[in-house]
Amino acid sequence: MSRSRRNWNEVNAASLARSIVLTGFLALTGLCYVYLTLQLYHLGDRKKALETEVTNLRMQNEVASAQITALTSRAALQRRLKEGYLKMIPIAEHNIVRLTIPNRNPEDAIQPVSNPRSAR
């Protein structure tokens, strides 16, 4: 009995515990590293997706702006006016406020002439 007891390997509990903790810590660090790396990839993909979305939205905005500009351009409005889609009403004289002060020269002897043909 005593002989077989003498052949047993004695286990150092403290050393074993240290090894287990160290191994566990290393394993956890490794897992954390893998997890964080995956997170980094995932966030990168999300960042890319958001960038693409922003780019697409910006493009849509630009396309819409271009359409608005085209539809409100002078050429387009004149075409619509010609088609009768739009109508223009002359502003009544009493609705016009003139801010320009006339520059008159009383010594000016030359009379202006009117040109009725000007209304082509």
Binding site: G44, T55, S73, T100, I110, P112, S114, N115
Partner: protein, 586 residues
């Protein structure tokens, strides 16, 4: 040596030592000596410099109305080596992009790795094609972001705005001359990609953001431009001239308010345009100005105090023999005051003014008014015109140049010279660019008016202005240029057209009118030039063709600018009373 176990063990150990030493040396060689080279090769394979394109700046008018802007489009490209199903791809691409099947087949059957299938594909069409390719699992077709230039007003102001080529480089007009500001600066980003070609975002390297192009604000007012464009179109319908040019300028600053030429072209269909349609004739074409040039002659004579406005000059009753060559007037004038020389447009009177001044002095004034030099307007392709030095003048040049013959000037030079008269004798550099700003409105540069020189004294300019009022009166040659309620100063011009091989073409005239309004406080100067107007020969004169066009423009422009009519409006004399005899045609 004993071949025992110890020896064998030593040999094996030595072998291992040698082997690992070899590995170590190779590792040191690769990792340290050749590190940069192999690192570069590896980076070349996985790291690419991705350009981030800058957006081209917009062009706006004086009221911030958009004249040129960008629309995002896509370029569809293919890599023939990566096509999965060629026939299915050809069918889909040709139908979606509306391309000829044969053309697509030819392109995709080649072994090229970069094939441009179609440029400027609208975003919606590109999205549709992308989805269909994905649904059918077809590979090898890619999409590149791009932008195309759009001109919302088409033909309007085409020569001033200009256009870009497919690489977005400005070719003509402001697009060409201010390309440096409009273009912006592309950015870049170093990216690393995986085996599938997708970017690994976390390995992004150095990055520089793009700087978008600046916005260009023109001095042109689209409302005035619209008036001018409508009138030039009406003139084209009525007179069918070969070419026509109209310019409106603000004399105090030299700002160009409107500029139109015919023939013209649609900026959005520039590939269909012919070269002669693309020419900005206001700065690239020269003409003999005819009698409008008499303002230079009279201004020089008055400024040199050789004559006063009321000095009388004998006009030889309509025919003067000078240097063995007869010079004619369109009517037999006797004594005419300097003022009436302009009002009646006497060639002999103008010639006598120049003869009194002398060759050299007259030439100096021509150059002082800016003729023979480029005006410096911010538009490409401007020509200086042709003003010969007195050394190369013939004996009779001194009698022909005063009436606008034997010289070549651009319409813009003529308008600028009239601006000097309207601006108290101060010659301003014509300008088309008002300011340059960033896309968020921060001012980069504001272009201030540039006064080139005082050409004539303010008194002389005032005197010429007074004389030019008479031109647009019942006594003058341009009664039809009048605008009810306003006093206009102006000068007509009718010059025989110079043929392509020299000499004058019979029956072909360049008619013009250059004037300003209101005469007492000029708000704008206008020039109307029609080349070879199709009308009755007895009516083909500046006062009768270009004058009324100026009148229509000036009337509408005065209304738009809210100019107060002259107080004498009620005393206006109807034009019917003006007898349009042959004496009032020039």
């Amino acid at each position: 040596m004993k071949w025992n176990s110890r020896t064998r063990c030593a040999i094996v150990c030595l072998g291992f030592i040698l082997l690992f030493s070899l590995f170590s040396f190779r590792l040191i060689y690769l990792q340290m000596i050749k590190h940069d080279e192999y690192a570069g090769l590896a980076a070349e394979k996985h790291v690419i410099k991705q350009p981030i394109f800058a957006e081209r700046g917009t062009i706006l008018d004086a009221n911030n109305e958009v004249l040129a802007h960008n629309v995002p489009v896509e370029t569809v490209v293919a890599d023939a080596s990566r096509l999965s199903e060629v026939d299915a791809t050809i069918d889909l691409v040709s139908s979606e992009l509306q391309l000829q099947r044969g053309e697509v087949t030819e392109k995709l059957r080649s072994d090229r790795r970069y094939i441009v299938l179609k440029r400027e594909v609208a975003k919606a069409n590109a999205d549709s094609l992308r989805q269909k390719l994905r649904a059918k699992n077809l590979r090898g077709v890619y999409f590149e972001q791009d932008a195309t230039r759009i001109y919302p007003n088409g033909i309007m102001l085409c020569h001033v705005i200009g256009f870009t080529d497919f690489e977005h480089k400005g070719i003509q007009g402001v697009e060409g001359s201010l390309d440096e500001y409009l273009r912006g600066q592309d950015g870049y980003r170093y990216i690393e990609h995986n085996r599938a070609g997708q970017e690994i975002v976390q390995y992004r390297g150095q990055e520089r953001a793009p700087r978008n192009g600046y916005q260009i604000h023109l001095t042109v007012d689209l409302n005035l431009q619209n008036i001018v464009e409508n009138e030039i179109d009406a003139a084209m319908r009525e007179y069918s001239p070969k070419k026509a040019t109209i310019i409106l300028m603000r004399p105090q600053t030299g700002e160009i308010l409107a500029m139109a030429n015919r023939p013209a072209f649609d900026l959005n269909r520039r590939s269909d345009a012919k070269p002669e349609q693309m020419k900005n004739r206001a700065i690239c074409d020269m003409m003999e100005p005819g009698s409008t040039f008499k303002i230079v002659t009279a201004a020089a004579a008055l400024n040199e105090h050789k004559f006063s406005l009321d000095s009388y000059i004998f006009c030889e009753n309509g025919m003067w023999n000078y240097g063995g060559t007869p010079l004619h007037d369109h009517a037999a004038f006797g004594d005419l005051s300097v003022k009436d020389i302009l009002v009646k447009s006497s060639n002999i009177g103008a010639a006598k003014l120049a003869v009194t001044l002398g060759d050299q002095k007259f030439y100096e004034y021509i150059r002082r008014f800016g003729f023979g030099d480029r005006t410096g307007v911010e538009l490409p392709g401007e020509i200086p015109g042709v003003i010969r030095s007195p050394q190369s003048w013939s004996k009779i040049s001194i009698t022909h140049i005063p009436m606008g013959h034997e010289i070549g000037v651009t319409p813009l030079q003529m308008a600028t010279a009239m601006c000097a008269i309207a601006n108290g004798g101060k010659l301003m550099t014509p300008r088309i660019v008002k300011s340059i700003t960033t896309s968020d409105g921060k001012t980069i540069s504001t272009l201030k008016p540039i006064a080139l020189r005082q050409v004539i004294s303010p008194q002389t300019a005032n005197q010429i202005g007074m004389a030019l009022r008479g031109v647009v009166s019942d006594r003058g040659t341009a009664a039809a240029a009048a605008v009810p309620g306003f006093v206009i100063a102006g000068k007509t011009g009718t010059a025989q057209k110079v043929g392509p091989h020299g000499g004058y073409e019979k029956g072909k005239e360049v008619v013009s009118f250059c004037g300003f309004l209101p005469a007492e406080d000029p708000q704008f100067v206008g020039l109307v030039v029609l080349d070879d107007a199709q009308t009755k020969p007895e009516q083909n004169y500046g006062g009768q063709v270009a004058g009324p066009i100026f009148s229509h423009i000036a009337e509408k422009a005065a209304r738009y600018l809210d100019l107060e009519p002259h107080e004498e409006i009620r005393k206006a004399i109807p034009v019917e009373r003006v007898a349009l005899t042959s004496s009032s045609r020039h």
